[in-house]
Structures are given as structure tokens and as C-alpha cells.
Symmetry: C2
Subunit: 505 residues, 2 copies
């Protein structure tokens, strides 16, 4: 097998792929390497890494391998480091993928080999896409879904809490606002349950829970910081830690440009992260909404079945709770405005959004019941009291502090974009529907989720009546240019659907 050595140097190119390296054409020729070939490179103190070849005769000298700055950042590799180079053959897992494409089923070991090779960059993006298309866009057995999920768990970091009860809550997403998670974490852990919550950042929505909570405290922690952090308060709220079901990140990267996500893929992705975190008791929020991800009761039931079946195979208690609505939950949309809503509820301010509090309490109660800590309406009372008594807020202050945030922050301290624009009702009537997708477009054009202070505040919610000239919503922007983008987007995206007159809702 071909191996040889080269010395590192850095090349100022950003390809969007940190694993691109540059070889001198003559070195490559000497060793029978072509552009687009994949190599395994190894160096002292680094783990073997798969990279892709580009060729040049002038950017680097002979005997050098050119790396980009992102690769340095990721691995800590230095200049003039001696690197061992080996040509990567076609991995065995390609044969398993071919077998699956031809309609045969795979053993667990074969599935694991595929998922591991997805994680370690041994497979070509297109080959992975062929596989994903086959497993997620045609019929898949519970058995195979379990295999894929288990392989995603086992190809990454895993946490084990020795039989301890570990609870969690997750939403299938797609609803603007709906920031119940931080409130539930506070209530549930204040009541003595252990909840190591990992959340995602927004992919296509205005904000993910991680984006919102980052307004209050840092959310990036490495796997080795997780256990000590959890010990402090029996809970945290962090961004899905590095190395937990890492296949999911690669899969998201590859399926990135597709505007659809199959439910099987969604459920696998969520469950893999839960299993890897050691969760054994899980409540799933499935929002049903004509402008969200899940639009019908039928679809919601499909998702429910997937969760429950997978839960059984992993010996995890799972309960799926549907929540139908014609608008978002809460009044603020965008990281800062949503964080303010969360604090208003936890701090029991007068202007707290009632729907957000109600939903958070409801899901907390469901979790208490599933964990066997309360029964019937007692669960709801217990969760509500924890919130109204200030106990939940005290617990949240400890969590914020443990993660390095400012525990004495008041909801009104949160900075919101200074440039505002109010949109008024053109007619009287009642609000029938608020379009999530339209909201998403406007928020995105304001710079969410990256620009945290930007966002939209909804003065009217679904079911409320509106007089002509009333303010429907306020846009908060961080620059005039951004406001202009948002107003342009608004022309093509209607947010409020108002029933004129006094007709039925």
C-alpha cells in the first residue's frame, strides 16, 4: 500500500470544505494520485483524517501539502509538520450501499460500517445521497430505522448515567416562537428531575432554542464538560454537543439543498441524539399547523408511530403530544425577542405571553406524568406552582450562572434592535391565522438567527379582534438596509390573515 510523507504549509483558499488539500502536481504524479482522489493523512498527535486532493504547480513547493486555515483551526496542526499520506481505496461500505440500493436488506454491522464511513468522510457526498434517498424516501422497516439510529449513536460520543432517570423534551419544530423548552427545563429540574437538554440552532427558521438561549448564556460545550455541568443543577441547555450522533451533521450537510425532510429522517436524527445523551423518558411536541412542518393530524400520527416504535426498541419511554394552532406561540419572533418572552414568563411579568406559559406548563405536566412524579391534574398544578412561586426562575438563574451567563438579568434588559417599524391593520376583523413561513422569510431577511437583536413582535395573536389602524406587529431591525430587505420581503409574504367583519373565527 502506498504511503509517503509531506510537510504541511498553509494555502489561502476557502472552498467551504475544510478537508480540501493541495498537492504539487509532480508529487501527485510520482505517487499515482489524481485530483479529487481521497487520502488518509496522519501526523503526530493528530487522528487519521480523510482529505480530498487538489493539484497545483505553483501554490506550494514539491514535498509540501497545502492545508487551509479552517483545517488548522479544527485540528491544531502546525506548519512544517511531517504528514504521512496514504491513498484511500474504495471503502467496503460502498458495496453495502449498492446492496441496499438493489433492494436487499442490510445487517446491523453493514449499516454501522456505512454510518461510520459517513462520519469519517470516507464516502463521496453523491454516494451518501444515493443511500439516504433509498432509506428515507422509500418504505423502511422499523428494524432498519432502529439499525440506522443505533449506528448513529454508536459512531459518536455516548453518555451513560447508570440507570438514573434522564428526562427530556423535544419538538419536531417548524413553528415560529414556541420557545417552551427553557421554561420546561427550569420547571422540571427545579422539581428534581435530571434533564440534560441539547438543542439545535436554526437551519431554516428564525431561531433555534440554542440561538435563543445563547442570548442568556453560552451554549457551546465540549463532550468532556457535559457530565460536570449536569452535576451542578441536574440540568443544562446547550447546543447539541460536538461528536454526539455526528453522522447527523454530515447528513444535514448533504441533504441541505433539499426543501423536504422525510419524517423518518427527522425522527432518526432526534432519537439518535436522545439515546446518545442517555435519555430514557421523552416527551415530543408535534405542532400541527397549516403553515408549519406537520400540517395534518394524519402526518402527526405517522410521526407519533415512528417515535413510539423506535422508543420501544431503545427501551425509552416516549410520549408524543400534538399541539394544533393557527399561529406561532408567544409574541416575540427572533432570538432576543424570544429570550425576552421566556424571561417574562419565568419572572412572571404582567406582559408575559399567556399562550407560551400555558403550553410550557402543559408539557412540563406531561413530562412529570410520564416520569411517574405526578398524576392527573395534580401534575399541572405542580408545574404551574413551580413557575408562579418563582422556584423555576431561581433554578433557571443557577443554570444560566453555571453556563457562564448573567443570572440577574431582567427580561427588559435584553437588547432589541433599535430601528423599528410598525405595521397596521388595513381593515377591522379577527385574526384567523398567522403565517409561519411568511414570518420566517421576514425574520431571515432581518438577519435572524445570526443577528440576534432583530425580530418581530406580534401585538395581535390568533383569535383576537383588530380595528382598522391597530398595530399588528412591530419589526425590530439593526440597520436601515436590513429593514428595507424586510419590507421588500413583506410585499411578497402576507403574515396576518384577518377575517373581515364579525363572522365566525
Amino acid at each position: 500500500m502506498l504511503t509517503f510523507q509531506l510537510r504541511t504549509t498553509f494555502v489561502d483558499v476557502q472552498t467551504g470544505d475544510e478537508l480540501s488539500v493541495y498537492l504539487h502536481r509532480r508529487d501527485a504524479k510520482e505517487h499515482g494520485i489524481g485530483e479529487k482522489d481521497r487520502l488518509i493523512i496522519g501526523w503526530r498527535g493528530g487522528s487519521p483524517t480523510v482529505v480530498t486532493v487538489n493539484l497545483t504547480s505553483s501554490l506550494i513547493e514539491r514535498g509540501q501539502i497545502g492545508l487551509c486555515q479552517d483545517f488548522k483551526k479544527r485540528t491544531g496542526i502546525k506548519k512544517e509538520e511531517l504528514v504521512k499520506i496514504q491513498l484511500l481505496g474504495t471503502p467496503e461500505s460502498v458495496k453495502h450501499i449498492a446492496k441496499r440500493l438493489q433492494g436487499q436488506s442490510l445487517t446491523y454491522r453493514e449499516t454501522l460500517a456505512i454510518i461510520k464511513d459517513i462520519v469519517n468522510y470516507r464516502l463521496d457526498d453523491a454516494v451518501i445521497a444515493f443511500y439516504l434517498s433509498k432509506v428515507f424516501f422509500t418504505n423502511i422497516s422499523d428494524q432498519e430505522l432502529y439499525h440506522i439510529t443505533r449506528a448513529m449513536v454508536e459512531s459518536g460520543q455516548q453518555f451513560n448515567f447508570d440507570g438514573q432517570l434522564i428526562v427530556d423534551k423535544h419538538s419536531t419544530g417548524g413553528l415560529a416562537g414556541n420557545r417552551i423548552t427553557p421554561i420546561i427545563v427550569a420547571i422540571i429540574s427545579a422539581l428534581g428531575l435530571t434533564m440534560p437538554k441539547t438543542s439545535s440552532r436554526a437551519v431554516t427558521s428564525p431561531a433555534g432554542t440554542a440561538d435563543v438561549f445563547e442570548v442568556l448564556a453560552p451554549v457551546s460545550f465540549s463532550p468532556r464538560e457535559i457530565k460536570p455541568l449536569l452535576k451542578k443543577n441536574n440540568a443544562f441547555l446547550i447546543w447539541g454537543a460536538d461528536g454526539i450522533a455526528p453522522a447527523d451533521d454530515r447528513i444535514i450537510e448533504i441533504a441541505n439543498e433539499l426543501p423536504v425532510e422525510p419524517f423518518t429522517k427527522l425522527v432518526t436524527s432526534i432519537m439518535a441524539k436522545k439515546v446518545a445523551m442517555g435519555v430514557n423518558c421523552l416527551i415530543v411536541d408535534v405542532p400541527i399547523n397549516p403553515t408549519a412542518k406537520v400540517k395534518s393530524l394524519e402526518e402527526a400520527r405517522e410521526i407519533e408511530k415512528l417515535f413510539v416504535d423506535l422508543g420501544r426498541l431503545f427501551k425509552m419511554k416516549v410520549k408524543v403530544v400534538f399541539y394544533a394552532s393557527f399561529g406561532p406561540i408567544g409574541r416575540g419572533i427572533g432570538p432576543a425577542l424570544e429570550a425576552r418572552d421566556v424571561l417574562r414568563v419565568l419572572q412572571q411579568k404582567d406582559d408575559r405571553p399567556a399562550d407560551l406559559q400555558k403550553k410550557a406548563v402543559y408539557y412540563s405536566a406531561e413530562l412529570l406524568k410520564l416520569a411517574g412524579r405526578a398524576k392527573g391534574s395534580q401534575a399541572n398544578r405542580q408545574a404551574l406552582e413551580c413557575l408562579t412561586s418563582g422556584q423555576a426562575w431561581k433554578q433557571m438563574q443557577k443554570i444560566i450562572e453555571a453556563q457562564g451567563g448573567r443570572p440577574n438579568i431582567d427580561s427588559e434588559d435584553i437588547k432589541i434592535g433599535r430601528i423599528t417599524h410598525q405595521v397596521k391593520a388595513e381593515e377591522s376583523g379577527s385574526v384567523r391565522m398567522i403565517d409561519n413561513k411568511a414570518l420566517g422569510w421576514i425574520n431571515r431577511s432581518l438577519g435572524n438567527p445570526t443577528i440576534k437583536q432583530a425580530g418581530i413582535y406580534l401585538h395581535r395573536l390568533v383569535g383576537e379582534t383588530v380595528e382598522k389602524g391597530d398595530t399588528l406587529f412591530t419589526i425590530y431591525a439593526t440597520s436601515q438596509a436590513r429593514l428595507k430587505y424586510a419590507l421588500d420581503a413583506l410585499k411578497k409574504n402576507k403574515i396576518y390573515h384577518i377575517y373581515k367583519g364579525n363572522g365566525p373565527l
Copy 2:
């Protein structure tokens, strides 16, 4: 919509993707462009081209766009050319792909939009792979297969010969040697039929017909050279011309690393090229062989059905003829050795391979019958006489001359690798099987198809008896190093399967 201008310069990087361009980080930032974004670029005299962005702060100046040499070669673009840049949004066809992935069927217009965007690089490789996996690796209707094939035809160059009878022959491939095509082209066009034969180069095999014929004459012609070339002798044998069903090239690129090819994909690819070339009468050779692409009669029948059904929809007469064997056809394997076999048959040399002649005559006869030029055994006699009388060779000389080759070449003038190695039989017996795949490996390690003079000559064919010590085959190499590679490969790949003793074959 965002447009701005940059000036071209050239960057010495070969990524394997000629459509990678380099932008200055600050220019990119100013226009809101990130790495991996796709742009449409246009310039005077060039057609709009989709390219992918890489960023740098030092390889080029601000105001420049860096292109690689391959892009220059392809387009003829010059240095300091003014280029208009436009950000490419998500193409509409992504929505059609999403629809198809979710199990809905597409209209012809939707399929055409997808195929066109595949051709013009508007779609991400992974998105294309999701689509291909769905259409080619699950059940597909005749209707959809027809739509895809028609879209492949219509998104490229098309030839129309005004109702003239245009005949052709194609093989599904996978059998070493089997170089009947040049002989058939000579016989059929000598007998007055029009046969514009386009052939492929080898992808994984030792040689494609285009690789072999290139030993005798140039095979690369542009679309505008095709009609005049055909007029000269009513036939040619060229490499599948640029721009004919161009989607196929992109699809091959993307499915490149998969070790399986669904029959639907294979048939679509062949039929699209035939329809685009104006063929209306086609004989398909399907070799059935335990070590080739099609292994069973059942598979062969599956392919037959696909060809016949698609043929009907395109109003093309198609006949599929199976050919079962336990070894290759002909004695030479590798471009030069196969070209020599072809000439030995056309020039009726004493040492011509009998099986190659027999098969070429048989398929010529089938084509004569399908085209209505002869009936029953008369067709075979006509084809054979055309060959033995020297008429076919005279016709081939004209074809070679028209394509710019040397028409007076003798089979024994063809240069073969000078370094030889003979492999002898270790025991006596009869040859039961010659492994195509094993042959492929050895030929590949000799440098086929790129190194044309290298190859293997089979002294014993299936069904022949062998005495211990007889030469089974000779390896022809162009360097000692290549011979060593081949001998190493030979250790792991057994070519001859010999039945010991005098038992049944």
C-alpha cells in the same frame, strides 16, 4: 437581482472540477457571496455558465475572478476578460425533485426542467443523487422512463435524417473483447444501410469500442462534423459526440463511485443517445455470462423488456439478441490487440478469431433482417459473403480514411507492447470458463485503456483442451513496472478455470 462585473485571471489549481472559480474575500463579502455558492457568469461570446465559488485573499486581486486552465480550454475565455456575475438562486427544479422524492409523479415539463438543470450544472451533485436514487433504484413506470429519456434527448444536440432508415447496434457490455461493432459497421454500410455509430470509451473495462477504433483512426468529432462525415460512406465509428444526451455524462460523473448500475439507467442512457442520433432500427447485444454485467436469462429478459417498451414509445424498431458465453469473444484483450483481431477478421487472415467473426456475422444478419433487407438464412449468407469477399474490408478502409486514419494498415502493423510474459497451464484439462472480471483487473493494471499497446492475448478459449505446460495466455506490457503490477494482480485474480481430466465440459 444582484449582478456585478469582475475581470478574469488564471489560478494554478486543478480541483477535478473545471467549474470552480476564485473570488476575493472582500469582493465576495461586499456582494453577500459565500464559499460554495453557485454563480452564473457571462462574457462576450461565451454562453452563461454556472460556476462554484472558492474564496481567497491572496491568490487574486480585488476585482478579479480566478479561473483554472481547464475552464480556459473548455470555453476559450481569455485573461482580462470582463465577466458579468450573478448569484444563482435555488432552481425551481429542486421543488420537482422534492415532489418526486415524496412519491408523487412528475409531468414531462417538470422532468425536462430537472434534466436541463442537471446538464447546465444548476443542481448540486447530492440533490441529483437523491433524484437518481429515487428514479433508478425504485420502481419506475414506462411513462417516467420515457420522460427521462426524452428529456435527455431534448436537452442536447439532436439529428434528424428526414425519415431515412438509420440503423444501429449496441451492446449492454461487460464482456472482454467482443469487438464486433467495427465489423458490423463495415458489413452493414457496405450493404447500403446508413449506420452513424457512436461508441463509448471504457469506464471500468479494459477497452471501449471508441478506445479500440482509435488505434485505427481518430474518433473525436464535433456535432457539426457529423452530417458531412456520415455522407461520405453512410457510416462512421466515433466517440459519443459532445452534446448528444449530455445529461448522461453528468449522471455518469455523479454515479461514478457506485459499483452497481440499474438496468433502467443503462437502457435510458443507451436509448437517449440512439434517439438523439436519429436511429430508428436497433439491434441490442445482451451478453449473458457469469462474470459479466448480465448474469442470468431473467436479467436479460428484464433488459429486453425495457428496450422494447422504450423503443415502442419512441417508434424505434428494437430487437434484443442474447448471447450466452463462458468467456470473452476474440483472443486479444486491450485496445491494440482487439483492433488487431478486428482487422484479422476484416482482412480474413488465417489466424482470425473464429468466434468474433461468427458473432459479428450473426448480429449483422439480425440487423439486415430487422431493417427488412433480407430474410431467414439468406441474411446470414449475405453478411458472411460481404465479409469473405473483402467488400466489408474495402468499406472499412473508406471509413478509416474519412476519419483521418491510415486505410492501408495491415492487422500485423498494429504495435503491441514489447515486454511479454507467458502464463502456462499447471495441469491438463479443458477450459470451462475465462473470468472477465479477473481479465479486467489485469488489463487495468497494465494501463488499459489509456496505454493502448498493453493487453492480453488468449491462446486457449473456452471449450478447448489444454496440456500441462501449454501457454494459456501472453501478457503484453509497455514497461517492466507495469508487468510487475499485472503479475501482482494476477496472484489475486484467477483468469482460467480448467476442468481437470477428460470430464464433461
